[in-house]
């Protein structure tokens, strides 16, 4: 019988590392050190598109204290082996795979060319300065729409379009013709940088059994397979060990430092350490895809959506990385959480000589949310209808069919969410000056949680009781900072009826912890939580059955709390957990269990038009903001922010709020200031002086309201919240700016300058 009364789940219980994080006591990947450690640095391209005419590493090699200087010639398999990182299932092959080190051509500014390891970081830096390189520049292409033209320079092969997805439902032509109102607009979104506090970092060493150990900050433990493939050695001889992560947001989903570390330690047989510099985090790693989105949406005069047509174009940078999957995500989510009878979407991801783009919290969901929710407000204005009412008429209901013909499997609590969000803004603030204008906006979103179902996602977990009634969980899920480790700890403790601090979780060691997949795609709680729940329930069942024996009662009547097994029917029937464990041990009954949770499995997508289910389920939510616009400078201040999300079930309230607040802050940054700018592929915002993320002075205290439909596919009805928390922030801000000063915000971020010129235009017309 599934446990119903909870002591730990749904509380605000502290985790084991929160206080230490505040005090600076947590040991992060970069803090690890071993005797005789070398320091590794990467020499990167200073051109966005060029042939390498000459590369001379002799002087670098000759420098005293330099242990190895490696080029592509030293990399056994130089193309990253798989298209989908950390994935056991291989899906469709694509060209444009990332090179570990550039061969004769560089395709973006910052592309790795040489890797060095030296006795000190300073010597490694000096060695980089001694590398001589000559380039011959090639024509580059920096705008995805230019890159789609037949005569555009090609980045790889003969076509820059590396992915194309579509939706076809009903007849949009006819539906637009019959619509009472139609709104149309073109939207643009920025190239957002993950800007996590902890840079990519780690330490690698070859142990006395010839295994490469890599202890580093990653979202994907299974990258050991990629490392093995690059080095051409068995997967069993690469071991990855995770650490507490200081933020990732998708930035640590693709390969980062692990291959460089492995190459250098394999070559020198010494421990090697590396951490990206902040600048390298800028120009050396992927970002969020900038999109151009052309939307046309129609409705009847009483506010029923009739049709939606969209063209989505994403800039995938110079290598494929996860661009096709991000684009797929955008395509399916492009309708918003609305039932629309006629839909036509065409989406393209296009190679350019810009910095690569890949996974980032939201995974293609944010760009389309900005467009579909701006469209909804535009429709409301045109229909002269309350934007809340308009949305309520169109929200999906449980069981409705999406535009990829998938039925919504869980509750859609958007009516409640939008009402609560708007209400929670409270009374409207007074402007702080005579040229200030206050406005309000909100936006609704949907985000799937869990990986795409054709990837056949699984997660395993092991739970075992000790003789004193404490427990150990082994589950290969890195803690990204969201408390992933803490959630499975809570689940095991709850089901086994033991205090939180008597459960220890070993969370990431590829050769010790059962593989549980990536901490990406808002899947960690859903997958590893379910796996741990299965394993803990198996152990619980053994205990309850043995206790039923001992108490001469039925196992169904028994529960465990505070290490006591008791009957809910007869109060005198109880026995200490420890006694049951001892009995099991005496009788040779195992009180350990390894189990595997399987998500929904579907067939591989074979056509560009998506006509089949792709996702497990969705999280729905609303964000509302109040902004003040300075009409003299164009600067926008967020005065209030509310996020309401149906998380299905909050395993821990505090950490759920943490995700909602953090997602909102990152979403507000995307809305107002974050954009990684390049001029002809050369970055101009590669440090945190110019690449601006919101500070505590830019973000108001956020009000996070948790709804719990208990209808999700995660443990105890949980849905996911990591990504959904970010999505609706930007369109809420755009709608609020329009409310304040009557301008359309079509191009994010809404920087002071953009708002200033829109205000001038409005003034003149």
């Amino acid at each position: 019988m599934e446990k119903q009364n909870f002591n730990i789940i749904g509380t605000r219980a502290d985790g084991c590392d929160e206080k230490d994080k505040v005090l600076g006591n947590v040991v992060y990947a970069e803090d690890y050190i071993m005797p005789d450690t070398l320091y590794c640095k990467v020499f990167r391209s200073a051109k966005a598109s060029a042939m390498i005419k000459k590369l001379n590493i002799d002087k670098a090699k000759a420098l005293d204290g330099v242990s190895c200087v490696l080029t592509h010639e030293d990399v056994p398999n130089n193309e990253s082996a798989k298209n989908v990182v950390g994935q056991t299932t291989e899906v469709g092959l694509l060209e444009a795979k990332q090179r570990i080190l550039a061969t004769d051509r560089v395709r973006y500014y910052g592309e790795p060319i040489v890797v060095v390891a030296a006795e000190t970081p300073e010597l490694a830096r000096d060695a980089l300065e001694l590398i001589e390189i000559e380039y011959e520049e090639l024509p580059g292409v920096f705008d995805p729409e230019e890159a789609m033209k037949p005569d555009a320079p090609k980045i790889h092969g003969d076509n820059n379009v590396i992915a194309n997805w579509a939706l076809r439902k009903g007849d949009v032509e006819k539906a637009f013709a019959e619509s009472d109102v139609v709104v149309e607009a073109e939207y643009r979104t920025p190239r957002q940088e993950h800007a996590h506090m902890e840079p990519e970092s780690g330490l690698a060493w070859v142990d006395d059994m010839g295994v490469i150990n890599i202890r580093y900050s990653t979202q994907v433990v299974e990258h050991y397979r990629d490392v093995a493939a690059v080095l051409g050695i068995p997967e069993s001889r690469v071991r990855t060990i995770g650490t507490i992560i200081g933020g990732g947001f998708g930035g640590k989903e693709d390969l980062t430092v692990e291959v460089f570390l492995a190459l250098c330690s394999w070559n020198t047989k010494r421990p090697v350490k590396m951490a990206f510099s902040r600048e390298e985090m800028g120009f050396g790693r992927q970002k969020r895809h900038p999109y151009v989105l052309r939307y046309k949406t129609g409705a009847t005069k009483d506010g029923k959506l009739t049709a939606m047509q969209a063209e989505l174009i994403s800039d995938s940078g110079a290598y494929v990385m996860l661009s096709p999957w991000v684009l797929l995500y955008s395509t399916v989510h492009s309708t918003g959480p609305y039932f629309i009878p006629n839909v036509k979407v065409d989406a393209y991801s296009v190679l350019t000589n810009n910095i690569m783009t890949s996974a980032f919290r939201g995974f293609g969901g944010m760009q389309v949310a900005f467009a579909y929710e701006s469209q909804m407000d535009a429709l409301a204005i045109k229909l002269n209808m309350d934007p809340v009412e308009l949305r309520k008429k169109n929200f999906f209901k449980r069981g409705d069919e999406t535009a990829n013909f998938q039925s919504i499997p869980s509750e859609v609590m958007l009516d409640e969410a939008v009402e609560k969000a708007v209400e929670a803004l409270g009374p409207k603030s007074e402007p702080s000056g005579k040229n200030m204008r206050v406005g309000r906006g909100f936006a609704c979103s949907w985000q799937s949680y869990g990986r795409m179902t054709y990837l056949h996602d699984t997660a395993s977990s092991w739970v075992g009781l000790e003789m004193d009634g404490s427990a150990v969980v082994r589950c290969g899920i890195p803690d990204l900072g969201g408390g992933q480790r803490e959630s499975i700890r809570a689940i095991a403790a709850e089901l086994l009826g033991i205090p939180l601090d008597e459960v220890h979780v070993i969370s990431t060691d590829s050769q010790v912890t059962p593989l549980a997949g990536t901490v990406t795609a808002t899947r960690a709680l859903f997958m590893s939580g379910n796996a741990t729940k299965l394993a803990a329930e198996n152990v619980r069942e053994v205990i309850l059955e043995k206790a039923a024996d001992m108490l001469e009662t039925a196992a169904e009547d028994l529960d465990i709390e505070n290490k006591m097994v008791y009957s809910s029917r007869q109060t005198d029937k109880k026995v200490e957990l420890v006694k049951v464990i001892r009995r099991c041990a005496a009788e040779g009954i195992s009180i350990q269990s390894l189990d595997t949770y399987k998500a929904a499995f579907t067939d591989e997508i074979k056509t560009n038009v998506i006509k089949d289910p792709v996702y497990n389920d969705w999280t729905f939510g609303t964000q509302a903001v109040e902004v003040e616009v300075d009409t003299e400078t164009g600067k926008v201040n967020v005065l209030k922010h509310v996020s309401v999300q149906d998380v299905g079930r909050a395993i821990n309230i505090k950490r759920t709020e943490g995700q909602m607040e953090g997602g909102a802050a990152q979403g507000l940054g995307f809305a107002l200031m974050e954009d990684y700018l390049e001029v002809d592929g050369v970055p101009i915002t590669w440090n945190l002086t110019e690449y601006l993320v919101p500070t505590s002075k830019d973000i108001p205290d956020s009000n996070s309201i948790i709804l719990e439909s208990r209808s999700g596919k995660g443990p105890f009805g949980a849905k996911g919240i990591g990504e959904p928390s970010i999505t609706a922030a930007a369109p809420a801000v755009a709608n609020a700016i329009r409310d304040a000063v009557g301008i359309k915000v079509l191009h994010l971020p809404a920087t002071p300058e953009r708002v200033f010129w829109e205000l001038q235009k409005k003034h003149q017309s």
Binding site: E129, K434, E632, T633, M673, E690, P694, T695, K697, P752
Partner: protein, 286 residues
């Protein structure tokens, strides 16, 4: 390759002797919030780093009837905490609260902000409207330089290779209204896109004296002389001044386009900043 030496002198005269010997190669290290980033970026690769942060001589505040003087090594936090700044130069206090963030303010010095020669250094526009002067010393002599004559170009000042900036003197204008406004692209820790400071002396609602200074609109921080004169020549009353179009300002400024904004935006927005600063300095509704 980097090649640095380090000197922690115990007196200003040792600093000046080192500067005399090393000249450009002797690099004054105050808070290091600029210098260390130049080193990290590889813009500065060698030299003698002369740490002046421990010299009490450069940390003094002299409070006289007409003028307050600040030692060059005072940090922004020390200025914010100084009762003289809070009471006699409250507008300077207000300006400094928008400087960077608490961590940087604990480190950054007033002398470093001025000597660095950045067109967007945030203490400059307000010091310009206050008619501040700086004192430069070498082992041979000392001279007083009006701040408005101090800047030559981006990162360039009139300081000679053997000179140290030792003191900043700020006249106290008891009857003036003063306001500086900084426009950054976010609220905390932002470089200025443009900044404007205004000081007005009014007499029965008539404008008697006006100083306007801006940052981020020219190769150096500037005084807007054309704009000042246009306002005074018009013998405006204060209301009219605040409502004026300030067309003359466009002759004072010569902004560039960069990562933080276009030249056109700086032209447009600096007018609005000056107007707002003027309204505030004149005690009108902002």
């Amino acid at each position: 390759m980097r090649n640095f030496r380090f000197l922690q002198p115990d007196s200003v005269s040792t600093v000046l002797k080192a500067k005399e010997e090393e000249r450009e190669n002797g690099r004054i290290l105050a808070g290091g919030t600029n210098l260390l980033s130049y080193i990290k970026m590889g813009r500065v690769k060698e030299g003698l780093l002369i740490d002046i942060t421990r010299l009490d001589e450069l940390k003094q505040i002299e409070d006289t009837e007409n003028e307050v003087s600040f030692g060059a090594s005072l940090t922004i936090t020390e200025l914010l905490n100084s009762s003289v700044v809070q009471n006699r130069l409250s507008y300077l206090h207000d300006t400094l609260t928008h400087f960077a963030n608490p961590l940087i303010r604990n480190q950054a010095t007033l002398g470093g902000n001025i000597a660095d020669g950045s067109p967007i250094a945030d203490t400059i526009p307000i010091l310009l409207v206050l008619d501040a002067t700086v004192t430069a010393a070498s082992s041979k002599s000392e001279r007083i330089i009006p701040l408005k004559e101090f800047f030559v170009g981006p990162g360039k000042t009139v300081l000679a290779a053997d000179e140290l900036l030792v003191k900043v003197s700020v006249p106290v204008h008891e009857s003036s209204g003063v306001k500086m406004i900084k426009l950054g692209l976010r609220n905390g820790t932002a470089c200025s896109v443009t900044s404007a400071a205004v000081r007005v002396e009014q007499d029965n609602k008539k404008l008697r004296e006006i100083r306007i200074a801006l940052g981020g609109v020219a190769p150096t921080p500037i005084r807007a002389y054309n704009c000042e004169n246009a306002l005074l020549d018009g013998l405006f009353d204060i209301e009219a001044a605040a409502g004026a179009e300030l067309e003359a300002l466009q002759q004072d400024i010569n902004p560039i386009s960069d990562v933080r904004g276009t030249a056109e935006y700086r032209r447009g927005v600096s007018v609005n900043l000056v107007k707002r600063a003027l309204r505030s300095a004149a005690g009108m509704e902002v």
